[in-house]
Symmetry: C3
Subunit: 138 residues, 3 copies
């Protein structure tokens, strides 16, 4: 049993947006009881992230860590056509991930108690982001 | 053909524990000949890792690298309720991964010669960790 | 419907090689219309990467970022049997990824406009690399 659906979100610039409920809703509509949900962002300057969803400062600190690892406007960058956040966004995307697969058990996403699923926008400006969700199982 | 099973491990604090044999055993019991095994840790302060399994100092060096990238007790952290390793653990988890999918070929995990699968605990204290394994194929 | 195929590439040493067309060709041959393609490199010193494929300097900058995060010949490494790039390669592999799952829609890989799929060699010397591709769907 396969179910595939694209969702689109408009971000407000660099931020993370929880999509757990939206993905869980698609899983429940699919009727799959045991299976897998694959979540894929079709861009190289945004990520899909699993993160603690109780305290929002975790995501503030993650932004801070990534600002050290893939700094905005680093003078060493050669790819900077679209501004200081251009290459930083690609770096953040490669250091995290574009795709996550989540187990489905008992007809629902089998996330841990504190696990939330997020779309992570790395660009400064608002962007329209496409996420392809593919659900399979029995 | 679907087979789903949760395993639980108690860690001794920060360390990596090889789970290759345990996952390979579940694959063989499933009877799947060609397919995929999905391994998912239901926590945001631990990781699943593929690593060279011949020389244990590789994992010592990986701990060292991550201690630079997501330092314990960094004064810039805002999320530090549970101690110096709290935010560091979330950062390490996001910089590595919570889920891995492995190919199954000829009824067994199709890992490379030197690839081992590990649960990677990022917290100082022992924790009970849940790993959901979902196997599918024919 | 399952289709599994191993491809092998010889790298010229540290570099990234686009494999989008090769994987897309295998997807089309499989006849799967809706499904998933799993791409797995069977080594711990190479990665699979999704990256912007319009401007090659993005990948030059990614090499530069990783050279800071997992430096070659770092004096703190304990694992250095095979030279300066040995542990650096394992670190780069763990900070990026060995496996990617991509959606298949309308019989083709559902990549974003600028997303290319790459094999990323982290060692200095040429290596023969095995990539297992597992396609499933309907």
């Amino acid at each position: 049993m396969w179910h595939q659906q694209k969702i689109q979100l408009t971000t407000n610039g660099r931020e993370s947006i929880e999509i757990s409920d939206q993905v869980a809703g698609i899983v429940r509509e699919s009727g799959v009881q045991t299976g897998l949900a694959h979540v894929f962002v079709q861009h190289t300057s945004a990520s899909i992230m699993l993160c603690e969803n109780a305290d929002p400062t975790v995501r503030v600190d993650l932004e801070m860590l990534l600002s050290r690892l893939a700094p905005d406007g680093d003078p060493a960058y050669r790819h900077n056509f679209e501004g200081d956040d251009d290459m930083a966004a690609h770096g953040r995307s490669v250091l995290t991930t574009n795709d996550i697969t989540l187990p489905i058990a008992n007809g629902d996403l089998a996330l841990g108690t504190w696990q939330g699923l997020y779309l992570w926008e790395h660009r400064y400006q608002p962007h329209r982001r496409s996420i392809m969700i593919t659900i399979q199982g029995e």
